[in-house]
Symmetry: C3
Subunit: 170 residues, 3 copies
């Protein structure tokens, strides 16, 4: 099955590219699995607006922590799935004190077993100066390992820069 | 008309590459539109030294804020224009409390209408950890959107890494 | 002689890629020149573990500062050399108050004169927001200049992203 990892920095056009790829890839229903959580009214507004922007083909599922379960449950109902994004999911897991290794393994299994195409979006966060605080350093390490594991698993890996895709694999 | 966006991180060799491209691209006079401002004697010295290094073909124009006007005014006098750099220009605009959206639209119009080749230099700043302070986060967002808009507009986009060019578009 | 520069961000898979390239490139003995220093028992343990992981073909040399001398001395005893990593070496030099320009020139001479293949690993650190503190800004500048000089010198330059190599030169 098609699996695509879309990498890029902040405001590199990852989400827009991933959404367009997903829409071009499959007819019928599409699932948008969001890992963002609405902590306040402003963010709830933004999330609602994005949902409207995506339009009627898209089913939106919120999965801040159990991404593997969300993939399993959604895969029977749609023709392709977009997960946006893994880096925020990792951040949620770390804040919740979850077992990162176990969550990563569960995600890898869910992606590998998914019967419909999956596009994963993730941030590149390791190309700046070493951060001062220990938590940020640990996050950087975990994000890099997560990206490596997903890149090894996915058939295609695309790096976005200023909205332009560069194929790293596939 | 030829339009080139040269992207890269800090000390990636962007300016040197862009200058060499500009010199190879056109005979006659060349304009160097600098967005840097000399806040002290040390910086004034550095700017003067760089101007001498570029040599006699180059006309230097300082445009910390009104880049669109500088492009319009310069384009009749030279055979190619180098703008170095957009990211510092964005920083100047934010410090001045300018309307970023309006400035970006004016720049896009000026680049599209320019009768001579234009090379734009910009920094990639979105590939590190999310910054602690809100202003840095807003700057990162704005820099990413600016780079996306210029990348969509330019015929050619080049990413510099350790002095080596990689074609992202063109 | 083969010279390869392996660039990438934090946890991009640089070291693993460089080690595999080195093992595939030459039969016989291989040298691992480590620039990391064991400041405490935990780090000493980690270094010892990595040494065991590399296995019997690898000779490990610690060279936190005089990398040029380590290259000269090791080159007669092995069939290929891996230096991991230049960015930590630069950090060691800066902490020791060494002459960076002189050290860089000595390294360039040692790499150019090396009679066996050399693989150099270095970090990309210049793609985030400008750091607040002056030392970090100077480090970023120096790291960028060092990477540019080594990229110009090496026959092959590879950028790692999420464990995936991209050829920038060669």
């Amino acid at each position: 099955m098609t699996t695509v990892l879309v990498l890029g920095g902040c405001r590199s056009g990852k989400s827009r590219y991933a959404q367009a790829r997903c829409e071009a890839m499959a007819g019928g229903r599409l699932a948008y699995i969001a890992t963002a959580q609405a902590f306040d009214a402003e963010m709830a507004d933004r999330i609602a607006r994005h949902r409207l922007d995506r339009g009627g083909r898209w089913l939106t599922i919120e999965a801040p922590l159990d991404l593997a379960a969300a993939l399993f449950e959604t895969s029977g109902e749609v023709d392709a799935i977009l997960v946006d994004c893994l880096t925020l999911w990792l951040s949620n897991l770390m804040l919740a004190g979850a077992d990162i290794g176990a969550a990563r393994a569960a995600l890898a299994d869910a992606v590998a077993a998914c019967p419909v195409p999956v596009i994963l979006v993730a941030n590149e966060v390791g190309l700046g100066i070493v951060p001062d605080n220990a938590l940020a350093r640990r996050f950087r390490d975990e994000a890099g390992w997560l990206n490596q594991e997903m890149a090894a698993l996915c058939r295609e890996v695309i790096l976005l820069t200023a909205g332009l895709p560069l194929t790293l694999k596939g």
